[in-house]
Amino acid sequence: MTTTTPLDSLFLDELDLEAAAATRPAPNHLDALEAEAVFILREVAAEFARPVLLFSGGKDSAVLLHLAEKAFAPGPLPFPVMHIDTGHNFDDVLAFRDHRTTGKGHRLIVASVQDTIDQGRATEEAGGSRNRLQATTLLDAVASHGFDVCLGGGRRDEEKARAKERVFSFRNKAGQWDPSGQRPEPWSIYNGRIHAGEHMRAFPISNWTELDVWEYISREGIELPSMYFAHRRTVLERDGMLLAVCPQVVPRGDEVPFEDTVRYRTVGDMSCTGAVRSSAATVAEIIDELAMTRVTERGATRADDRFSEAAMEDRKKEGYF
């Protein structure tokens, strides 16, 4: 702590700064993000009676699961892993899910959107996307298993509405998020206190960007489903997006399917998750490509997020992840 004095010294001397910065190696930003995530995971495990980790098979949840394994190693995960299965899955996502969960001795719970529809708790939407229906399936599963906190791989850089979300994000008895009534979250002191019937969402990788996630995947050698890497696929162009031709996406009108070299930036409902043209076949090539990318992850690949600027905010209030 220096005392402030004559005005001249208020101006910063560049050389002083450089000399000071050289005295200690700066901690790697990935180490800092990793330590923060592990701290949050341990707080969640300790503060709640029945946590669950949400796992979509996507890169963010693969990173989250890896972090959870490190946080409690060499012990077992102190919570189960839950997949909200839309039924509209990409080729190897289910195999990957099983490999990464039951294959490693973790407890896996699958909650299926199809079951929610069959029970009459939700109705299929016009476009066929089940992203929105997942909210009901998730809330039903939270209630039936008595989970009091769901760990998710949400990142604040994904979307503007998320940019304001807390690390411990409170949900009322209806599972809803109230953006203007969030609990203040000073320092790293997380308040996990809730009443019966309420629950929390916790986001250990809130402060990571897409690039951080990829750099960490590279550093740690984290496995991913193959759809993240460039491959040949039959696609069609709809609303400016490349969608894989599949039972949920059949050519309409004058849409002509064609084969292209693509990869995905997120795992989601196949009917509305777009591919990007890319030849990046390795993690290193993806990192290079990202460094030059000019479109955000969501803008590129989520058809249903683009219908309005406030789509995400509405969705989150309903209880979406």
């Binding site: 005005l7 180490d31 800092a32 409690f72 320092w187 308040n191």
Partner: protein, 445 residues
Amino acid sequence: MSVDAEAGLLRVATAGSVDDGKSTLIGRLLWDAKAILEDQVAAVTHASAARGHDGVNLAMLTDGLRAERDQGITIDVAYRYFATPRRRFVLTDTPGHFEYTRNMVTGASNADLAVVLVDARNGVLEQTRRHAVIASMLHLPHVVVAVNKMDLVDWDEAVFTRICEELTAFVNRFDEPSLTFIPMSAKLGDNVVDPSDHMPWYYGPPLLQYLEEVPLDDPAHNLAARLPVQWVAVPAVAADEGPNGNANGGPRHPGYAGQLVAGTLRTGDKVVVLPGGATSAVASIDALSGPVDEAAAGAAITVRLADPVEVHRGDTIALQGAEPQVGRCLEALLCWMADAPLVVGARYRLKQTSRWTTAVVADLHYRLDIETLDHAPATALGPNDIGSVALTLSDDLVFDAYRANRSTGSFILVDEDTNVTVAAGMIVAADSATHEQDRPVPTAG
């Protein structure tokens, strides 16, 4: 925009009054650092046009939720991320509206650095004083005062100098933080990313260069080691072994996991487990990368001790001879965040590090008048008030003064009925009368 693998992470909090140009400044930082991607620009261009703005309104890039866009002001804490080849940045944007002190405390509490905006035309207003006082109360390692809109005062050095002197004199009455002043025009880009051609009298760096070069030297590195235990990893017990496995601190001892919030911890270090007072030595340290001999502040580690002492979540492992304080009576500064006022005699849940206890407000010494820095007599604290209180706890707390250690000196108060976080607290000192008699007698491990 690939970041150097060794680049560090700098957490920056911004604060400014409405219309000082904070959104424009952040927008320009993100824009010039190329952290803004095409679809975001398209959305903002579209929205700017719809509102009758010409071209891209940089401020809209950082506007958040719809309710806030409708009101035209940001009303909560928003997080932004960008990187330069030299460093990764986490920006917390905290709004300038006076009733939102709690947001600045929330957003800036974790920051390495605060940027406080001033409109050069207005000089030092109540808001500016409030932001500077909060930044120094939070004890942030660095505070930058961005004197913005210099283009509207003819790039006049005298205007800048007057603001520097006035704010420095004011803040020094509260504390003696080191303030760094940078004159700029967020709108035109002067001294944000590129140096200004208009102010040859300023010879410091532009803001971004300052943010890239300011030492990341975490002050917590130089403090005595503190490991608040978050999680006790109980090892699986083999059938032919006792509860502690082999007795030489081997792998079957329980692991005490937590984040080393200060100092350096090494294997062999003699430690004390507080508040109980049991002593032992560090047998092994597992970092996230594997076993290490030494861990530094910030690392998430799992420690095993040489002796079978009892350690629980909420206990703190500290170096013998450099121990934190233990006690049930605290003097603290509170930033009150709830609508319902704080009153003397009220009871709250208190969380500090990973420990929960109950606190009763024994006394309210004063409310800090941010305008005058006077200690105003008070019987209650309202939302966004800062006040000094005495708290009596139902259990021992292991703590340091906030000024000595931000992690072990901070806490939150939580309403017992609603579970809402109602205050952010900074420990000033132990209440000396009770502190001595509460001190546990160390027991050999």
